[in-house]
């Protein structure tokens, strides 16, 4: 990649320049020992990232908390007013919110185990030394490098009543449903395409986990007469502990943030069957311009994700212990 090579050559020239500078008397000559000057240097090096993170991450988070208790609008001749918990009262009375919450939880509850298990299956399939295995890895990974916007448009087309998927099913004598048009199948359809898109990503992570397991453990297991399943159960699975935690947490967080697919393919319909919390926040905040109400939704969402992550951490920690 061009960016990498240029970074490398830049550091090479810098090295040369530094060597020249080293001859001159100056501040760089003094060894950095004092912890005070170390701290100053550290803070200076942290500063650019720090300033940016504060400006574009912490301030918006803070704003979310503040705006959630006002009737602020994206554009309005009227100034925003403090309205207490009105937004939350309205939110908890809104059926769409509960539907969105339910869908988000269902989505996460299904996609987390299914996608991680399938990705592990893929990883096991391609974790062999044989000619052409790289080809398979590459193909499985293709959807990951394809934008979710493109993938959504593509699947929107494939999911049509007479679309590609139903035509393929028809070859097997199955009459497919109107995937995205039926409240009973719409969320399932979104789950399938989401898993399809991201599975290669987690396959590669499982793969890297698998390859840290020492080969002699398998040899020892074989000497003990272990079969394929025993080897998986007693060598592979325990060896993937840390990878498991990582995958669990990444899939969970991205599952809760479900937005792009839904926004492009169904806009939350039919009958709120695919509405999600993030979609609702963006819709009320941007399309309907109710910044205050949208902030309240975001706030509830923060709390939710935080709670789930903490529970996640606790569960995996207990298991690890």
């Amino acid at each position: 990649m061009t960016t990498i090579t240029s970074a490398e050559s830049a550091s090479a020239t810098r090295r040369g320049r530094a060597a020249r500078r080293g001859d001159k008397p100056g501040s760089t000559r003094t060894p950095v020992k004092g912890s005070r000057s170390s701290t100053t240097t550290a803070l200076l090096m942290l500063a650019p990232a720090g300033v940016l993170l504060i400006t574009f991450l912490l301030v918006p988070i803070g704003l979310t908390f503040g705006l959630a208790f006002t009737n602020a609008r994206l554009i309005s001749p009227r100034p925003a007013e403090f309205i207490g918990v009105d937004n939350f009262v309205r939110l908890f009375e809104d059926d769409t919110f509960w539907a969105s919450l339910r869908n988000t939880v269902i989505f996460a509850a299904i996609i987390v185990p299914v996608q991680s298990a399938c990705a592990l299956g893929l990883a096991l399939l391609v974790n062999v030394k044989m000619r052409g295995v790289n080809f398979f890895r590459t193909i499985y990974f293709l959807p990951v490098v394809t934008s979710m916007v493109v993938v959504s448009m593509l699947w929107l087309f494939m999911y049509q009543k007479n679309g590609l998927i139903n035509q393929v099913l028809l070859k097997f004598g199955i009459e497919g449903p109107d995937w995205l048009g039926d409240p009973k199948t719409a969320l399932l359809a979104i789950i399938l395409m989401s898993a399809w898109q991201a599975m290669g990503f987690h396959m590669v992570i499982w793969l890297s986990g698998l390859q840290t397991i020492p080969g002699d453990l398998y040899e020892a297991a074989e000497l003990d007469g272990a079969g394929t399943w025993e080897k998986f159960r007693y060598v592979t699975w325990p060896g993937l502990r840390a990878t498991r935690t990582f995958i669990l947490i990444t899939i969970t967080i991205s599952a809760f943030a479900l937005f792009t697919q839904v926004n492009i393919m169904t806009q939350g319909g039919p009958l709120d069957s695919t509405s999600t919390v993030v979609l609702m926040a963006v819709r009320t905040g941007f399309q309907q311009q109710q910044t205050g109400y949208a902030s309240a939704i975001s706030l509830v969402f923060f709390v939710l994700v935080l709670a789930v992550t903490l529970v996640n951490r606790r569960l995996t920690r207990d298991k690890d212990a």
């Binding site: 550091s11 240097t41 493109v150 998986f232």
Partner: protein
């Protein structure tokens, strides 16, 4: 997108970084913890169809008129460039959107974000990993904690907020960042996950190198620049790739913050095709055109891509 999110990892996982340099997915010598049977080969091939065919369908359909796309759906012809094949859809795309402009914008935005992202995040990670100072653990913890916040929920307050920010530009001091390049770049330079990846990597480089350099009279910045960074090629590649993908794929944010065609990136262009008179052939052509550059990069640098993702995980 999944590549943009990351784990909220605590100190116990950071302990696993010792071997984070070993990221190459080497095939095992004997394949005994993989599956190696004729049945598995069939499985692999079927999965190839599952993952590959939809994209093949997209590329193939981009050369066909709508009527034929629909007509071919029921047979293998859907995946073959046969019949009334032409470049008409592509010509149509160029007639409908300023493609070269969109492409230039995406390239500028992506390259600048990636380069600045590597510099800014590696410096921050260096400070946290190599220079121990009071509160560095707390800072790292704080940064990691922000990983659980999905961008979509911050987009609205951020939109409201960047509209109030001043900017020193060629027209002097202006207020409001909407409808500019910088609004698509600067908020995305600092990234907690990138800092975490660099941190992991830097922490695994022996500290003795710093001591030796200090004896030679080097300051911290020189250690960063002349010792640590040159040793961190894999980490730089990882961060570059993991910044590249989500930046290239940005959709919601530019849709909200940028209106001028002269400044919009390629993903937003898909909206130009979701009109009343939908032409699926043109949608497929446009989708192919904005996917192709990434696929070409991916196939050319396949090993780096896969290693990057792999090294973003935590070793057991």
């Amino acid at each position: 997108m999944s590549t943009a999110t990351a784990p909220g990892l605590g100190a116990d996982h950071l302990a696993h970084v010792a071997d984070s340099t070993a990221t190459t997915p080497r095939g095992t010598t004997d394949g005994r913890h993989g599956i190696r049977k004729p049945l598995a080969l069939v499985g692999r091939l079927v999965l190839c169809l599952v993952f590959g065919l939809p994209l093949l369908f997209m590329f193939v359909s981009s050369f066909k008129p709508d009527l034929q796309i629909f007509g071919d759906l029921g047979s293998w012809k859907a995946f073959l460039p046969v019949g009334d094949v032409s470049l008409d859809n592509y010509t149509g795309v160029f007639g409908r959107v300023p493609f070269a402009q969109f492409m230039t914008n995406s390239v500028v935005i992506t390259v600048v974000t990636v380069v600045l992202g590597v510099v800014v995040n590696s410096m921050a990670a260096f400070a946290l990993a190599r220079i121990k100072f009071r509160g560095s653990g707390l800072v790292l913890g704080l940064i990691l904690a922000t990983l659980i916040v999905p961008f979509e929920t911050l987009a609205l307050p951020l939109l409201w907020w960047v509209n109030k920010l001043p900017f020193l530009g060629p027209d002097g001091l202006t207020e409001g960042w909407l409808d500019t390049y910088q609004v698509q770049i600067i908020p995305f330079i600092a990234n907690a996950f990138s800092i975490f990846l660099f941190y992991q990597y830097f922490d695994s480089i022996p500290k003795e190198l710093d001591e030796a350099a200090k004896v030679d009279g080097a300051g911290w910045f020189r250690i960063y620049r002349s010792i640590v960074m040159p040793l961190s090629g894999p980490a730089i590649a990882t961060v570059a790739i993991l910044t590249f993908l989500p930046t290239w794929n940005q959709y919601l944010w530019p849709l909200m913050s940028v209106q001028s065609e002269e400044l919009r990136p390629v993903m937003v262009g898909i909206d130009y095709f979701k009109q009343l008179n939908t032409s699926w052939g043109q949608i497929m052509a446009y989708a192919s055109m904005i996917t192709a550059p990434v696929l070409v990069l991916f196939i050319a640098f396949q090993r780096s891509f896969i290693n990057s993702i792999a090294s973003s995980g935590v070793k057991g």
